[in-house]
């Protein structure tokens, strides 16, 4: 792949990222498609989100209370677990599971439509593939990932509660009172703004990779792999950058 190629692909990607959300303005709306995708992405991901969050919450609580109890500070477990879940680990872990489940699905579905000339048929019949295939997926991902993240955070906190109370023998009401303490605007805002961006990134990257799939089953494999790999990298990097920006914007000292 030469430089010119790379630049033109990047350009295509930016165009897609830009145009996809604009697709909601103007007919046709593809409401049925959007609802179907929301169901697939949201309801369909509930189980994995539940499992991932529960165990992350428990592991984190276990680790932190072990460390803190050595220092004699284990009553602060709730605070630390809550903060790390809500601001960092929850959004990132759930976005990563979402990329694995939904991102790969998007790429392989659109990719096989490209390879089977189904997208060409749409174009011949005057249907804009960007609007029909990409916009509903981007919209659904942007709406569903935050919802999943909130659910996941709650499950994680429950998992943390279970460990601190039943394994680490702390006071349950103190755990919750600490969680209530950290439930302020800054923390919730930082935690909830992230999944909007992650959902947008995952869906745009996956749709783009699907649309640019070439070369049969192997090409599809490559496209799907790069969709998940790129999404993963972008989630981690943009999380760091967003954390940095949010700290600045919300005026919190590091």
């Amino acid at each position: 792949m030469n430089i010119r190629d790379t630049i033109s692909r990047l350009q295509d990607f930016y165009i897609l990222c830009f145009r996809a959300p604009l697709g909601v303005f103007g007919r046709p709306f593809y409401i049925r498609e959007t609802i179907e995708h929301m169901d697939y992405m949201g309801t369909g991901s509930l189980f994995i989100v539940f499992l991932v969050s529960l165990f992350i919450g428990m592991a984190l609580s276990l680790q932190i209370s072990a460390e803190l109890s050595a220092l004699g500070l284990k009553m602060y477990t709730g605070r630390i677990v809550g903060l790390s879940i809500i601001r960092e680990i929850g959004p990132v872990a759930i976005a990563l599971s979402f990329a694995g489940r939904v991102g790969s699905g998007i790429t392989s579905e659109i990719g096989s439509m490209i390879l089977g000339h189904q997208v060409d048929i749409m174009r011949v019949h005057g249907v804009n593939p960007l609007k029909k295939l990409v916009t509903p997926r981007v919209i659904s991902a942007v709406l569903m990932l935050p919802v999943l993240t909130i659910i996941g955070d709650a499950v994680s906190l429950l998992g943390g509660y279970y460990i601190s109370v039943f394994v680490s023998h702390q006071s349950g009401s103190y755990y919750w009172s600490q969680i209530r303490d950290i439930m302020n605007f800054k923390n919730i805002f930082s935690g909830v703004i992230k999944p909007f961006l992650f959902g947008y990134l995952i869906s745009c990257i996956s749709c783009y990779m699907g649309l640019s799939a070439r070369g049969g089953a192997q090409g599809l494999r490559k496209a799907t792999t790069s969709a998940v790999v790129m999404s993963t990298i972008m989630i981690i990097i943009s999380d760091f950058m967003l954390t940095r920006v949010l700290l600045l914007v919300l005026g919190e000292r590091v």
Partner: protein, 247 residues
């Protein structure tokens, strides 16, 4: 009217079409013949604006479409409907939804209305029983017929483009499809919807088309009617159409 003017297209170093030129009216019944890999499918994709040529012009009703954007191309594509070589059915939708694709996009028909129209189309193609099957449950010939039904539903093309509609089918099914293609383009010019059929099956082409072109090494080396085709002096073309002499 379609016109290709000195159209050249290459994939990397491999020149597929080398200054191809021809004109065809929408009501004509054209067959483009040629061996496998000569660029027949490529020509259809160029006409639809799915591919852009490296050089040359493609004029639809006198307008050059080679520089048009995707949204400008929409109006030109509405003149055509295509049946791809592989059928290209939407594999996650059943036959009914495949055929109803355009109706759902462009009309507000009720479910009953859609069902009725799809059924009558499928009935015409003799596959009404398959209405609720998925594409993977269909045989090759049935898929081809569903693809034809879909290309007809909900749009009124001025010209149909068929890419190898009969290859890979048994003689009887192939014959049925030829009859169908012919029936779909009945009526008198200039109002009739013509077609371009792209194929290497000479006998099938001779059953439906009135004008024949032969593509070789990126050029159209023959363009004429059936008699001219049979009387050609080109030895390679003669052997390509040898089936015709037998019949």
């Amino acid at each position: 009217m379609i016109e290709l003017r000195d159209v050249t297209l290459a994939y990397g170093d491999h020149v597929v079409l080398d200054r191809v030129s021809f004109k065809a009216e929408f009501h004509e019944r054209v067959a483009i013949l040629g061996s496998s890999g000569e660029g027949k499918t490529t020509i259809l994709r160029l006409i639809l604006g799915l591919l852009r040529p490296d050089s040359g012009k493609i004029l639809i009703d006198g307008q050059d479409i080679t520089e048009h954007s995707e949204s400008q191309l929409r109006d030109f594509r509405m003149n055509f409907s295509i049946v791809f070589q592989e059928g290209a059915l939407f594999d996650s939708m059943n036959v009914r939804e495949n055929v109803a694709f355009c109706m759902r996009e462009y009309t507000n028909y009720s479910e009953d209305e859609i069902e009725k129209r799809v059924r009558s189309l499928l009935n015409r193609l003799g596959i009404e029983d398959a209405i609720y099957l998925m594409p993977e449950e269909l045989s090759g010939g049935m898929q081809r017929r569903v693809a034809i039904a879909r290309s007809l539903a909900g749009c009124e093309p001025k010209m149909m483009l068929y890419d190898e509609p009969t290859s890979g089918l048994d003689p009887l099914t192939a014959d049925n499809i030829c009859k169908l293609i012919k029936e779909l383009s009945k009526g008198d010019p200039p109002g009739r919807a013509g077609f371009i059929i792209v194929t290497h099956k000479v006998t099938d082409a001779s059953k439906v088309a009135e004008r024949f072109m032969y593509l070789r090494n990126g050029n159209i080396i023959f363009d004429g009617d059936i008699n001219a085709l049979k009387n050609t002096s080109d030895t390679e073309l003669r052997s390509f159409i040898s089936e015709l002499y037998a019949a």
